[in-house]
Amino acid sequence: MSEFPVDDSIDLRGVLCPINFVKTKLKLEEMDDGDHLEVFLDEGEPISNVPRSVKDEGHQVLKVIKETDGNYRLIIKKSG
């Protein structure tokens, strides 16, 4: 849990595509370069789409962690 200290966190469980990515993007816009953002996502479409879109924007997905409830926790490093 603590190997990546996070600067901000956003819970997007229950938020559909593409609004989950839009909210992730807006959050990243407010953050500084190099900051870490933690994102909680549903399994299925969200976890297959959001990390890819985040990478397309030039950010790094440092970690994708499957939680015990079946959902996912993403650690993103803001870049550029």
């Binding site: 593409p18 609004i19 990515f21 839009v22 909210k23 993007k25 807006l26 816009e29 879109s53 397309d56 924007e57």
Partner: protein, 263 residues
């Protein structure tokens, strides 16, 4: 408004674009655009700009809706016949996007009022249907240093051109002065394919959005000429004209001109 759930959802397809994002969308929401003419070109321009969330959208027109307008002026409907075009347009735009401010100006633009009209706006759109107004709008934008997106249509033809005063050529760098009255046919004499208004108007709206977003390459210095019969898009490179009577080295035009209006 920004970052509310409604804002995020309404503009989500813009925000997703790397060239727009949340900051770009906020720029659009903070911008002011004046559309001169609520007719064939003004209809698609104003509708797309309202949908894009342009914060303040001014609409200028002096006319009322006529049945013969409805073949191409898609912001108006049969129920609007004989109604002021500015009122009819404002109603549709507000219905499409109640979060923007629509300012209708029911008036004829001339040399006495245009500088005051454009002064608060960031970008001006030429959706006029006559040469006197088109030259007046060009000259006023050159004097005020306002970006102007020009468009014109006739029969199956259309053209679009973006004017960034002093940076690129203006309308008079290409056409020094209006053609003599009566030498060029207007829409009511020559006819017009309604859909060409949509082609040129949406190009103008796109140019406005790019200017505000500071993205891409505008039609500055490039006159886009569309022939819808062949469906060909041709680009004519235009340079600033040193001899331009208004933005050249020794301008002969130093004040606005009201040309004779014949239609």
């Amino acid at each position: 408004m920004s970052n509310s759930e409604k804002w995020i959802e309404r503009y989500s397809r813009h925000i997703i674009l790397p060239e727009v994002g949340g900051k770009g969308q906020e720029k659009l929401n903070d911008s002011k655009v004046l559309v001169i003419g609520a007719g064939g070109l003004g209809s698609p321009v104003a509708l797309y700009l309202a949908a894009a969330g342009i914060g303040t959208l001014g609409i200028v027109d002096n006319d009322v809706v006529d049945l013969s307008n409805l073949q191409r002026q898609i912001i108006h409907a049969e129920k609007d016949l004989n109604r002021k075009k500015t009122d009819s347009a404002a109603e549709k735009l507000t219905a499409l996007n109640p979060d923007i401010e629509v300012k209708p100006y029911q008036m004829m633009v001339d040399s006495s009022n245009i500088m005051d009209l454009i002064k608060d706006y960031d970008v001006i759109v030429d959706g006029t249907d006559n040469f006197p107004t088109r030259f007046l709008v060009n000259d006023a934008c050159v004097f005020a240093g306002k970006p102007l997106v020009h468009g014109a249509i006739l029969r199956f033809d259309g053209q679009a051109f973006t004017i960034m005063p002093k940076e690129g050529p203006c309308y008079r760098c290409i056409f020094e002065q209006p053609p003599p009255p009566g030498t060029v046919p207007n829409c009511s004499q020559a006819g017009i394919l309604g859909a060409i208004a949509g082609i040129i108007g949406t190009i103008q709206a796109t140019e406005v959005l790019k200017i505000i977003l500071e993205q891409g390459k505008t039609l500055m210095g490039r006159l886009l000429v569309v022939d819808a019969l062949d469906m060909s898009f041709r680009e004519v490179k235009i340079r600033r004209n040193d001899a331009c009577p208004i933005c050249g080295e020794n301008p002969s035009i130093t004040e606005l001109i009201d040309y004779e209006w014949v239609c």
